[in-house]
Amino acid sequence: MAPRILAVIEARDGAVRKISHELLAAARELAGPSGAVDALVFGAALPTGADALPAFGADRVLSAAHPDFARYNPDGFSATVASLAAGCTAILFTATATGKDLAPRVAARLGLGLASDVTGLALVDGAVIATRPVYAGRAIQKVKLRASPALVSVRPNTFQPRARDDGRTGGVEPVSVPAFEARVRVTAVKAPEKAALDVTEASIVVSGGRGLRDPANFKLLEELADALGNTAVGASRAVVDAGWRDHAAQVGQTGKTVSPGLYIAVGISGAIQHLAGMRTAKTIVAINRDKDAPIFKIADYGIVGDLFEVLPRLTEEIRKVRSEK
């Protein structure tokens, strides 16, 4: 039988989040040409961007609309996903704050195992095989999900979203939301003053460490991030503990795990706990004045030098490159 994949789409403030396009790419890859991909969206009404999901790989959009779904509703969402599980080969979640909260609830409702935070997916003889980093990225585990549907959450920045293809169209079908008991309620979402791009979702991350010397100097990284575009500013634990940056920006074992296309570590020594959070970046650049800093052992490209001299030049050159395009 042709595979059928249910992709649980994430929305916020009434709009589909871009990360969902990555999820559809993963779903499409698993479904293959003959398989079907259903994109499930939640909202008080159909979220903005839901009708474009077919252009990113969905065959159908399933809309679970409910007055309580303007915000994340763990109990209602999990009841709805579980009600749609029958006949699915796999159910895919984004391994984001929301997806990591939702997926285990669905798994327990269905009595099925869950592979979290996967970085690779394949369908072999009808069974989903997933690879996933374990031990803080020091090993990669390969697991087979014997049950159907296979439940999986997919790590951000792992699958490349498909190019938008407006030739691909698909209908939006309402699905009924089963009765549920809302045991918890999201009462508010506080956004930081400047709604920053999250380090886990940005395609480029520039991170600063103790070498920046003063919180005000993070301005240099913010300027570089602005010049690069779609870039988040991360931080080492040393500067988070010092109160220079928010914990949300911390990369590493007790912070976030990031896999951007480009990671630039500035004034960061490269402690093992920091490496745990960024070693899966596709390309790593390190700027450090100590040529023996451990970060250079993992970096693809390094510049040995004073960051206060290198950063302004880098930002300037990036601006030039960006303006050429």
Binding site: P74, S78, A97, K100, D101, A103, P104, A107, A108, G111, L112, G113, L114, S116, D117, I129, P133, Y135, A136, R138, A139, I140, K142, V143, K144, R183, V184, R185, V186, T187, K190, A191, P192, A195, D198, T200, H247, A248, Q253, T254, G255, L262, I272, K282, T283, I284, F296, I298, A299, D300, Y301, G302, I303, V304, G305, E309, V310, L314, I318, V321
Partner: protein, 249 residues
């Protein structure tokens, strides 16, 4: 306030991991193990909540082999009242672990069941909410800030680019994130007292689950890096490499 804490024994996060001869699990001999760092936030929160309430009981549970006794003793030394070891080799399927824990906690009369956000060995981030679902309890995951008053919980959790504020009522399951508190260290007095605290051991049998581990490998070695140059003059060459070789710009 009666509070349960679930605590896992995990390899020290800085320890070098060696893949075992079965190519599916790690070599444990000679490896240093510690209480899962996120579970220490749970232990601390349980102790602080009981202290604040002025009365109650805190109980720590670990599912694992006899080696987990040491981990449980650490929690007792921090101040937890009693410990229960659920003897089992564990499972690659988090749901099986959750089922065993849920069965054990079901009739415990707990107001609060605390977990770590994730175990730093399997990186599953799932046992807590699974237990909640199996027990039909309210659950908030990755809690970084918590207030409890008159049986009402208000918790904050970090989401991408913001903070989610979640409310529910006791009894509830919470999973604890960094930022919630600063775990205390066991005192010498605590270590001595721990030896006399109630310690129960029960064998549990886990089901086969639906996840099989096929293999465990080292991550692909990153190719030895290259120093592009020194100082700001190296920047143009770096940019050239990022464009033409790495193709990330």
């Amino acid at each position: 306030m009666k509070i349960a804490v679930c605590l896992k024994r995990v390899p020290d996060t800085v320890a070098k991991i060696t893949i075992g001869a079965d190519r599916k699990s790690i070599e444990e001999t000679g490896l240093k193990f510690v209480p899962n760092p996120y579970d220490e936030f749970a232990v601390e929160e349980a102790l602080a909540l009981k202290e604040k309430a002025g009365a109650g009981e805190t109980v720590v549970y670990a599912l694992g082999t006899d080696a987990a006794q040491e981990t449980l003793r650490t929690a007792l030394a921090m101040g937890i009242d009693r410990a229960v070891l659920l003897q089992s080799p564990g499972s690659p399927d988090g749901l099986e672990v959750a089922k065993a824990i849920a069965a054990e906690l079901k009739d415990g009369g707990y107001d609060l069941i605390l977990f770590g956000k994730l175990a730093v060995d399997d990186y599953n981030q799932q046992v807590g909410p699974m237990v909640a679902e199996l027990l039909g309890l309210a659950c908030v995951t990755s809690v970084a800030h918590l207030t409890i008053a008159d049986g009402a919980i208000e918790a904050e959790r970090e989401i991408e680019g913001g903070i989610e504020v979640v409310s529910c009522r006791l009894p509830a399951v919470l999973t604890c994130d960094k930022g919630l508190n600063n775990p205390r260290l066991p005192s010498l007095k605590g270590i001595m007292a721990a030896k006399k605290k109630p310690f129960e051991t029960k064998a549990v049998a886990l089901g086969p689950g639906s996840i099989d581990v096929l293999g465990l490998e080292y991550p692909p070695e990153r190719q030895a890096g290259r120093i592009v140059g020194e100082g700001p003059d190296a920047v143009p060459e770096l940019i050239r490499l990022l464009r033409t070789e790495a193709r990330v710009l």
